[in-house]
Symmetry: C2
Subunit: 519 residues, 2 copies
Amino acid sequence: MSLQNEMNGAESLVRTLLKSGVDTCFANPGTSEMHFVGALDRIPGMHCVLGLQENVVTGMADGYYRIAGKPACTLLHCGPGLANGMANLHNARRARAGIVNIVGDQATYHRPLDAPLTADTEGMARTVSHWVRTCSNAGDVGRDAAAAVQAASALSGQIATLILPADSSWNTGGVVAEPLSVPPPPPVDPHAVTTAARILHSQKNVLILIADQATLAPSQHLAWRVAEATGADLMGSYTNGHLQRGRGRIPLPRVPYVVDAAVAALDKYEHIILVNAEPPVGFFAYPNRPSALYRPDSQFHVLSRPDQDSEAALQALVDEIGAPETAIPDPGPLPDAGTGAPTPEGLAQTLAALMPEGAIISNESISFGGYLEHFTYAAPAHDWLNLGGGAIGDGLPVATGAAVASRGERRVISLQADGSAMYSLQSLWTQAREQLPCTTILLNNRRYNILIGEYANVGAEPGPTAMGMLDLSRPDLDWVKMANGMGVEAARATTLEQCADLMRQSFNQAGPFLIDLII
Amino acid sequence: MSLQNEMNGAESLVRTLLKSGVDTCFANPGTSEMHFVGALDRIPGMHCVLGLQENVVTGMADGYYRIAGKPACTLLHCGPGLANGMANLHNARRARAGIVNIVGDQATYHRPLDAPLTADTEGMARTVSHWVRTCSNAGDVGRDAAAAVQAASALSGQIATLILPADSSWNTGGVVAEPLSVPPPPPVDPHAVTTAARILHSQKNVLILIADQATLAPSQHLAWRVAEATGADLMGSYTNGHLQRGRGRIPLPRVPYVVDAAVAALDKYEHIILVNAEPPVGFFAYPNRPSALYRPDSQFHVLSRPDQDSEAALQALVDEIGAPETAIPDPGPLPDAGTGAPTPEGLAQTLAALMPEGAIISNESISFGGYLEHFTYAAPAHDWLNLGGGAIGDGLPVATGAAVASRGERRVISLQADGSAMYSLQSLWTQAREQLPCTTILLNNRRYNILIGEYANVGAEPGPTAMGMLDLSRPDLDWVKMANGMGVEAARATTLEQCADLMRQSFNQAGPFLIDLII
């Protein structure tokens, strides 16, 4: 037997992942993953980050991708461990993040015995993954891992889930696979480019709606040139997972969350050019309100689909219409930090005034923060990460993973509602363990405020039973104590001045900090 | 239109659930459930309990069933909300608990638009449910709800998931349905009874293995009579979700978790009579160890399957062999409370000495507590709830739901490992809000200790990378602060005397308490 064939499946997995450029593993292992853990221990090069619940693990991998621009892997334990992480895989899928999930499972010959932890792991994986494979042979693990990285690394990132029965890990015969090249995205359709150019030249009420990669700096600058040259408006999808914003980037409004506001914002557009975006629809239907947010007579023109290269498409459009180079307008001076009682405007001004250059904002502010972004155009250049799939609980894990991706060199600021923070508060412990530069501004209103708003649509004031399911007081959550309990320094603020002081203090120290901002 | 037809779907749902005997709702609602919340607000009779993450919600419903003996409903938000609760639905399924999940979802006509929260809700539900139905018409909601309660209420409880598009809730035309009677379980096979009697009479090394309902008081007493009359041994499955134990109940060993210990315990039995139990297999396979825990030449004799009535089967067997009435042996005097540094034995003695009559123990003690039950045979009569499906994180939610089921009249004591507690620590807040008599003994060893043991099976001491995924220190979790942050009084103990003092204090007060026991 050759030396290579004495390698076990787990070792071939680690070596293949590293060779394919995956060098970060967010993990919460169990018994069936011990051989993988053993291989990680013996083979240097993989940065392993522990999360204390799997939705933290998968959310960190999402945040990592958005900043690193390449997939990390997760390590999850059997079907139920995967299930715990599925909500943030849903969010990652909507944010078009690439993730390689490694899910350990029962040994192939043990599975038919239906042991207690045995579950429909493949069935679970399929509900949130673009790519699923169960590897039943140690000799195939390397090949399958390379294919998983390839799938996750598509231009529009994908969720690739590799299920690894324990005997595929521990058996020998592992073979390290060469990285597989990622197929190029489907080419831009020249007809789509000429059609978009014709509409922009001939029509008045035209919106260019951009999403995903199209909102990152290279594409957004091209879109700006097109808009400036033609008089069209520019807008971003509400759910864009990743925006590049601030000084030197374009002032890009998002389609509003609230249906009436969105309908009003889109009412003037007879033509909408989609750049990696999809026709905007409401998060939910409501009685007697439209499902679609655009005019019924709107005409859509697809310049590029979500799986295509937005930069190539926009460059072709710039060339087609001969749009000249245009400077991004100066957003004016930095605002002064806000004062007095916390308001969305005041907090946004404080954030703009104080955030360091190159900050990363993880925004899961829900009801308080829907419009925080309007007041931060003049802030230093920053990355702004939104909840892509609407499943609350991704804000803190995404912040944590983004901090891992930036190797502690960029300040990560969470705008984090309290109700959604409770979904994945275990993230704070990982921030403390890894000593990540994460500042959490915990927007503490002691209620599911967005649902109290939604309840009004039912047509009544909530009574005691309803409020029992919508408010988070009785008892109040003490975020200072909870953060301290997980090793994160924390303090309470009730005014914007106090909040600003704590932000300055936090930005000057290396590790995490939580500001319990009573709103 | 008749009055009844002005009722909306949500109202018909609440009224049907109440009429069918479901009067407790564990909830974490979202926008698509607001009409159900509204109906709960207007129609009295449903006790609604909020959980701050869905795995808390589903775990509470599991604990509720085990003590109440009937299903509660859950209220979950869309596919990702269901996904968050799936691990504890897996555990509930393994514990044979009955639960009616109400999962709100996109309106029927909104779903094709693929809004951000749209997911494969049915696909997710199928992986953990016995019964799944999507109700696409307000007029069918009552009928489908009655069928869901019927499915959940089978003798061996089932997971029934009713997916409710928002327009089925808000549209009028709702019809309240009559409760559906639960079909009787498959009858006991007389041939199985005579076969078991023959084996018991003719063979020497016979084990009667009992599981699930067979471990509750009525069945276990019958099993004891059979064993006493025939000289057979009695054992319970490792994963039994619910045991009735203590004074007046039989001393029932469980099949051990560790493979070698289990193989040794089962080695003498050539014949195993299964009473609602399945042939015992390991949680996991290991290289060079058997998957099955019984002798390869063991012969199994099924007296009753898991879906059959164990009491009827055992009564028939008692009658067949003419087993006389036999007193349960006196377990001897109560032990004294333990002293000094915490050990499993000392903690078990302390527990036995101090627990009040009728206590409920929720055991998710993992590595520390595997054998705690050996030292509690002389305790007052109590219910002992185990993790049925092996997906960690059910201990605190099950304790909380059990306390709700006993309407605050019984003391619930959690033996709770720290690693698994972090999975669903939000349960503590619900204990505080509902002022439940829950005492958590938090077994704080600051590591995934069971995995450090499992790692040894890989054949090496864990190095720094492996330990980075197996230990929970750096920073230590401060459970007193975290509990306080969620409104639960708490204190630390480092000796069994301190632990006993805090237990006495807690048992004398109404609400929850957490003892951070450093082990």
